[in-house]
Symmetry: D3
Subunit: 277 residues, 6 copies
């Protein structure tokens, strides 16, 4: 993770949430009043973003102390104390919402990822994200996918080639598109081709694509494609597949199953901050 | 909505997604090749963010034309064509993911809001959001709530006072906290107090709070609180209420029901861009 | 106050004033030469911005020490030592102008506010600012008004509703405008209506406006308006009123007197930094 | 003037003033309703910032038309129509406050400068500003001084050398300080030395300073200094001189009189925007 | 190329070069005076950055017209007219230096690249850049390498894996390092390993590295390495190789020769702007 | 140097080079593994930017320790250890490339400048840079010129006046242009005029230009110009002069020789970072 980008996200989020000052806190809480608080899981899940939470707190006031009791990526249970905080009450209250909003979303994504990964356990399929992430938070969301046991697909349009329908048509065919891409991109970037049927799979294979995506194929066709490819390229299954099909897809022998919903449909994990009386 | 903030979100999102260039498109698609495309709803819901979608497209290339066929806030069905696009294929492809990511999330929030609003129809209760929004996207998410028929709670810490447990304790009581806030804040800002029992409700009333939040009360206690307040303050129901209780809560006579899940648990609406052959 | 915004103001101001380096200091003063200095009031007034002054100093060099001898909002006399500084001479000299420019303006505003507040002492009228602040420095100027004993009007267009002539005409009347605003804005935002005569006051009252502004009325009409409103709404007097009328306006019983000149006509307080030989 | 810097000032000011949206306008005025308005001087003075005013309007909505009827730097009278506007009412209202805040301050500075310049007419003395400008607005304020007939002192610490007391002491004397600066700075930058008595003036002359500042000298001593210098260096008079002394100072034969109050004590010119019924 | 990043570079460069205004032009050239100019090559080379040149011109003034007479990547001769310009003289003069500084550097890099590429013509070796680019200008410099006929190495630390000495030691060996990287990175990213001898080459091969870098090997050892690898991985030659060895290196059969000097040692191409009398 | 600008350059460069994370380091090196390293000169030259190098390291991780063994501006030999580093291996590796890229360029410029300065030793000519610097890095490059013993020409268009051909023609002659500039610019800014023949030199002298540039004159004409000027103005020689002519130019008696190649043709100094086993 790049900390400079993280700090920009944090600054931006704090400005959004604090506006020109916390009217309630400024008017009711003496500036130097101290407080202790506990960060508590209100449901079970995979903890993710605890260091981000602490960094938000310390951005608002560098003297706020955050002691982590659970680790990034750890499975936690309802009621677990994740961290303890001490510092100025006003500073903790001003940072609270942004810190929790990030922590809860990241933990929600890690938790959901872990569930999907569990569904395909024992197969060789890896679960990956897509570019369907929340604008502005991609670095954090892809990190959460890794913490949940998933893998990342390309981060953006410049660190991977994914040749889709439109590219194929404009280039005049899969072969031409793959050749054009190979001639253009840095040698550390792989070429993936999206295919919709076995003829396209064969063409992509012949063009020496590094990765072949099976897009919206049914499970029997996927299995045929995997057999056809036979290890000569990585195979990615893609499409709006429901959770009930996930294991069957994995069992076709694909290497990768990419799931947009990992990041486009988010259920924040319930975590709360309790001040001590 | 402030367009300068929207443009910052769009710029930031495009930089995140495009990196130093779209390797696939640059290598396979002639720079000036033209394309037409249709934006199509893949499920029913409330459309929201269509102008944002168009603005992303035109940020990447001002010459891309987007003709809107459905309006902001309109209920759309699966298969409806929402807009048609024409312009450089490369520009549309580079903008596509960011434009869809924003549109799908905003429409998802508007759709979910409309469902919640429908559940309380016929009561006087308004459904509102909270500050549990996605960091960086609050303006868009609160806009989506309005498009779905909901209302907004305060935007940030500087445009409303919400006195919670910690503020009350630090100030020495509800009365003192309300007085301190009234003496401090601009006269166009109202004072809301969070209460957990009827004694607190009475104290907030006596302190002339403008709004009283009933936090995590059961439905009978809410009804008692509404009766006690009797129109002398606005009443907000809050707490992790399930959808099944929503109508019962509304029927107690509260004015406002705030629901964090409207923005912290997001299901993107399925919308896709189809290029014409 | 939001520190992140303050830091942006400070950074921006330092870049403006330092350019690509302080040619004079760099060429004549050894980099590590130490210095002591005193910050001295050259006229009496209300001190404001002393923490901002210190933060500018420490932004240029975190090792510069600033010991505050007078407090924010305190009345100080000509000759009073406000703070003592010690640190690298070069750093103090590079920070001096920006630190003083902010401090002198903020103290000037606080001083002028205190004079206006004193003129209405014994009445219930509060003196408030307007949005006629210096672009870029609103947060600091509104803070200075508070330090001088004044109150703040809305911070910007999104944290208060003020329905003026144009809004009334476009909406089709005061009643329609108030209704439209009530249906739209967050429930913690109050609605204020600008009126020019008693008929408009009555209409605003009937529409249940929270605050009624009496715009450019003469004093007898103001008194009639106050009597008519009779506590059912807050009353704000506005208009280019000279200082000589201020007390008479306050004695009509208005709650608020807003004065644009508090921030649009600024007389910097004379404060200087004296280096010790 | 650099337009990129101007645009940053405008963006920043609009974000400050609009927040997350103009609640009043959004709720009461149909988005596409058209309006005409006139910009009217409410007092006489020197117009400055009219192009900035127009640029603010067009930043909010590029389709707003502003027809200028008076020119930058022109003397205008109370009641003069400075410009006419037509466009979307909502856009004009959202831009109004920032546009006026800048225009009124700039015109106020130009007006005050013109008065000071008039006081020394017939002498060779030029009136200049100092670095006591409003943080963030220096470019605009120094421009306003020029429009009022004044001249600019250095813009910042990197485009001029002004050797003061502290530099002299640290360098070991005026001679050493001037030599050190000459050896360091770009050859297009002149060296100015601040002096407090005739001995220092002589030393600065001997060191071949380009400009000699007479700091807080009384008028007879200034006259002696001018005679001593006798055209071998430019002469600047400085110090908190009241307006009543200004002409006498000019008549001593100094080349430049720098006045901090030109920009640290600002009286905004009264200009208003009138919408047509 | 990402235009948003390009525009940031241009803005930043113009602010750096223009400061608070072009004193010379503002004082001597009437604002609306028109001019024509020609952009002329003063030496032969490969043209690169002509569109960037035009964009700088149009950033300063959108009405400046630039007609391109030579194309990006084209070989041009001394005396060739590359483009003609017409527009406001003041605008062209303010943009000139930044526009030329970028164009000359980019053309210099493209020209030098083309010379290196020519030296290995007929072999299969591609010439690539490294990350030794000018901070802030990497996107433009890597683009210039492509225009000169070279290829790009990874853009930054997140779009390629290059396992060096330190990584190998920390991971406990090449095998462990490659495995760790493969388990971590997106599936579209390849793994390259830096090797210094044939044993390391063998270990990298066995670990199934995608690319093997031969670092500072002499030519016979390179040839042995190429034979050993035998097409099972891409082979990159690296090290401070002089131009005289370049062809010999290429003839060993390596796929890639990376050359830091392409971007760390820059000779701007001589191009000038001639105004027409 | 202004540290705020330096920090922006560093942040920007790190974001460019690190992207969304260092895949190699993150996957192979334990986060807290410590390392020591030495910074070693691989060729002789003038060291410049060592404090910048250290600041990059500490921006990535404030706990990285850098002990400087050689000083800014010092002549160093091949093999000299310039600094020692200790800290987290991962942090040092992530910062390494940016830190070296800046250090190597700055030292390259200082080294080249020192060579040019040596060529004119014994004459009174100073070697200066021009505005042909790398966009975004001007402050660092002009600093490097000073460290190499050179002098700086103006930093940008707002801190010096240089009247060229186009300005002269637009103003109607050298005399008019100089007068216009003198009437406009701050009194601490000097006026330089570019001349191409002796008649222009005479006209510039008569107009009391502060500095006269001899542009592309041959050496005899330069000598005549110097004689003509005879100390009444500073004299700058300019033009694409080869190194072989440099001393002859200096011997004509000019005060300043400006050389664009100092910053537009850069040869990075070879410096490397060696990790200890």
């Amino acid at each position: 993770m790049q900390l400079a980008l993280l700090d920009k996200i944090i600054q931006n989020s704090l400005e959004e949430d604090i506006g020109w000052g916390d009217l309630t806190t400024e008017s009711t809480i003496p500036k130097d009043k101290q407080a202790q608080a506990k960060l508590i899981a209100k449901q079970e899940g995979v903890l993710c973003g605890i260091a981000v939470f602490a960094r938000v707190m310390q951005t608002v006031d560098a003297s706020t102390q955050v002691i982590l009791l659970k680790q990034e990526g750890q499975h936690v249970n309802c009621g677990d104390v994740l961290a303890t905080l001490s510092g100025r009450a006003a500073a903790i209250l001003m940072a609270e919402r942004v810190a929790l909003n990030l922590l809860q979303r990241m933990s929600g994504i890690a938790t959901q990822t872990a569930q999907l990964v569990a569904m395909v356990s024992g197969t060789k399929a890896a679960i990956t994200d897509t570019r369907k992430t929340t604008p502005g938070l991609r670095m954090l969301e892809k990190y959460a996918v890794r913490m949940g046991g998933g893998r990342n697909h390309r981060f953006n349009l410049s660190d991977g080639v994914l040749i889709k329908d439109n590219h194929i048509r404009a280039a005049g065919g899969i072969t031409q598109a793959v050749l054009a891409a190979k001639a253009y991109v840095p040698h550390l970037i792989k070429i993936e081709v999206e295919t919709e049927n076995l003829a396209q799979v064969q063409e992509a294979l012949d063009a020496l694509a590094d990765v072949i995506m099976l897009d919206n194929m049914d499970i029997p066709m996927m299995a045929q494609a995997v057999a056809l490819i036979n290890g000569r390229a990585l195979v990615e299954a893609s499409g709006n597949m429901g959770e009930k099909d996930l294991r069957a897809v994995a069992q076709t022998g694909v290497d990768i199953i990419s799931i947009g919903a990992i990041t486009h449909t988010i259920k924040a994990m319930d975590i709360s901050l309790r001040f001590e009386a």
